[in-house]
């Protein structure tokens, strides 16, 4: 029995069969239950863990259909339209589901109907063994259920009970206008109507899927739970072949794929890969997956694999045979391999940016698809005196200068003193005023501008030490114009070699 401690005392939130036999009821105060049965076993409930587990169970439930939604704190809604024949019919699907859930160690009830409302009602309040509503008979199957099966608010239920309406059929036979008059608020009235319509199917009730439904999805169930890596690889090969066939028929290729492994004990694990260009060749994709497969946790055995193409694109049918010899090999397969092994954001190119501030003049873009789409991409400008390595953050150095505003004579960087023999500069680089307007300054707009520019301007020097190593140094701010009157600081920003 699980309890939750709230402001109004400790209440029971969940019970098992034993506790129910002893008389414990959900919502009861713990003390009342203890009084009735002192030896009852009590544990503190953990809502967050329950929700996590339900989500995991939802992912596991995708073995039956890709469309799985979480229902409240203790339910799953699965849209099995078009999926039941894979399991040998609706009855077989329910039986399979119940067997598996019991094997996990959960007690569950399942209902099946045309509408989510009817299925919900059957699962929670249905009587007897037959909890499957025949097609188009949602109402007939639920007609003798209590009104609690309608997913209504407690105060609405209370009113309905006071009116003597205890079953769905009583509610259904009353004319709508007459029913509406009984309620003080319009909302309560319309909620009853809405739930009735949803139950019957007059109003469609869309599910919010746990995971976006991938349009291309292949499922493979194993006779024996798979644990070994070789078995996982085999399953993947098999699924890739099937997926390739489907994609080929429609002239598509995948850009992102996910392999999900459902454990026999209700868990799941998955790996995803991305591709630089749409592809569907099983060998190629299997190679990208190969190293990641080790990361799949087989748990106590995997009994179902789901391979989904999360993103697909039209594939241009290239003439492979002609292109193969004459052109240099394509670099995209290499990028794919590196991306999936090392991480997508770790393979980059440099793209120029139209800015004169050194650290803004370039940015790292993904190796594939990072190019500017449309518009004019700026070109690399040829600039003299630019280092080939730039520090992400300029590093502070200690300097000794001959004259205050000249280049330094010596500087200490990374604890080594370097004596400067030749230098070039200054190259004054002011901040981009259109970006950095407005902190401090009291004068007119123009004055404020010019002051800001002068206090934040940098004087860059290209200097060479006595050994021949060349550095790019700058002084932040000009003498006499720094904010607090201190001497400006020097930084090293790059290396020329």
């Amino acid at each position: 029995m699980l309890v939750h401690s709230g402001v109004k005392g400790t209440r029971i939130t969940a019970t098992n069969r034993m506790a129910e036999k002893a008389g414990a009821v959900i919502g009861q105060m713990l003390n009342d239950a203890r009084a009735a049965c002192p030896e009852i076993h009590v544990e503190q409930g953990n809502e967050e863990a329950d929700r996590d587990y339900l989500t995991r169970l939802g992912h596991w439930g995708m073995r039956y259909s890709p469309m799985v939604a979480i229902d409240g704190i203790d339910g799953l809604l699965v849209d099995i339209a078009g999926c039941d024949h894979l399991f040998g019919g609706e009855q077989a699907l329910i039986t399979d589901f119940m067997l598996r859930v019991e094997a996990i160690g959960l007690s569950a009830r399942a209902g099946l109907a045309d509408t989510p409302g009817a299925a919900w009602a059957l699962a929670r309040y249905g009587r007897g063994q037959d909890l499957i509503a025949p097609p188009n008979q949602s109402l007939e199957a639920t007609i003798d259920l209590p009104i609690e099966a309608m997913r209504l608010e407690e105060k609405v239920l209370l009113l309905l009970r006071r009116l003597g309406l205890k079953q769905i059929d009583q509610l259904h036979t009353i004319p709508r206008a007459a029913l509406e008059r009984r309620f003080r608020s319009r909302e309560a009235a319309s909620s009853v109507q809405l739930r009735l319509d949803q139950l019957v199917g007059f109003i469609r009730e869309p599910l919010v899927p746990l995971k976006e439904v991938a349009p291309y999805r292949e499922v493979l169930s194993c006779a024996e739970p798979a644990i070994e890596a070789a078995a996982i690889a085999m399953a993947l090969d098999h699924l890739l072949l099937r997926l390739e066939h489907r994609l080929e028929c429609e002239g598509l290729g995948a850009r992102a794929l996910t392999l999900t492994a459902c454990h026999s004990d209700g868990g799941y694990d998955g790996v995803s890969i991305v591709l630089g260009r749409a592809a569907r060749e099983p060998d190629y994709i299997a190679r990208l997956f190969s190293e990641r497969l080790e990361g799949i946790n087989p748990g106590f055995g995997i009994d179902l694999f789901i391979l989904s193409a999360d993103r697909v694109e039209k594939m241009s049918e290239a003439q492979q045979s002609l292109a193969a010899n004459s052109l240099p090999k394509d670099v995209i397969p290499l990028i794919d391999r590196l991306m999936n092994r090392l991480g997508v954001e770790h393979i980059t190119r440099l793209a120029p940016v139209a800015s004169h501030v050194p650290e803004r003049a370039q940015r790292s873009v993904p190796a594939i698809g990072g190019q500017v789409m449309g518009g004019q991409a700026p070109a690399w400008e040829i600039m003299v005196s630019r280092p080939f390595r730039l520090f992400e953050r300029p590093e502070l150095i200690e300097t000794i200068a001959e004259v205050p505003d000249g280049p330094p004579l010596r500087f200490v960087w990374r604890r080594l003193t370097r004596k400067i023999i030749r230098s070039r500069g200054p190259e004054r680089i002011a901040p981009e005023w259109w970006r950095e307007i407005g902190n401090g300054g009291q004068g007119s707009y123009d004055n404020r501008q010019s002051l800001l520019l002068r206090t934040n301007a940098r004087d860059y020097y290209e200097v060479e030490d006595e050994e021949g190593t060349r550095y790019w140094l700058f002084r932040a701010g000009l003498y006499g114009l720094t904010r607090n009157g201190d001497a400006p600081q020097w930084f090293i920003h790059g290396l020329f070699g």
């Binding site: 770790h346 390595r389 190593t469």
Partner: protein, 277 residues
Amino acid sequence: MQLEQLRQKIARIERRNITFKPSNNGHKGVADRGWQSGCAAIDDVLPQGRLAYDALHDFSTFRSRDTPAMDHFVLALLQRFLQTKEAGEIIWCQSHLNMREHGHPYGPGLKALGLAPERLLFVSLRKEHDLAFAMEESLRSGAVAAVIGEGAPIGFTASRRLSIACQEMAIPCLFLNNTNTYEASAAATRWRIAPAIGPPNAADLDGPGMAAWSVSLLRARGGCAHPGNPPSTVFWNDATYSFDLVSTAGNRALADRAQTRPTVRSAYPAGRIGKAV
């Protein structure tokens, strides 16, 4: 012709267990199997007077503070390489930390060196030990023009694997050892680079001079390098995009330095060798 045959025979002997594969396009000259630095003092020591395309080249420094100079020298060599190879991308692998410590490659500066930044692909590794994997994977793909790796020495076995990959795919691989540890390597050539004072820049006599290096070729398989050879001091001529020998005459700073510091240093200093060479 006999001379060429003899050279091939020697090359075969030098490579011992590796089959010597003549280029499948029939006879090809030196230019098709390697590229030259453009400076006779360096090229003469190299086998057949060129840096082989199908080999691993290993660069190191004497002290870690000389790393920027080595980077610059290798980039200049790469620029020479790109003069001979107009297609294909260059992949540059280094760890994420390395980029932070030595600076991120900077496009405008690379452009100023004569390299096209759009032809470079950067791999920043979360873990240093992925370096050998990333380099080998790039070589084996056969889809890049050259591979650059930067970091701590990768060990003899990994370097052997890389050089075999280079030979099979005929792609050069340049490895920059930016630590001052020296380990055994299967590289075809091993270099040690130190910064040097270059001749003054004609456009700006007081400013920093031309980029220059003191280059020791410690090993060139099939060539006549020897660790005891004095280093040659070369500078980068950014008008002709080639290396030239720095003459000590007329270069006061260099002449002074040559007096104060011995130019010949033992290439294998005691206590610096990581493993048996």
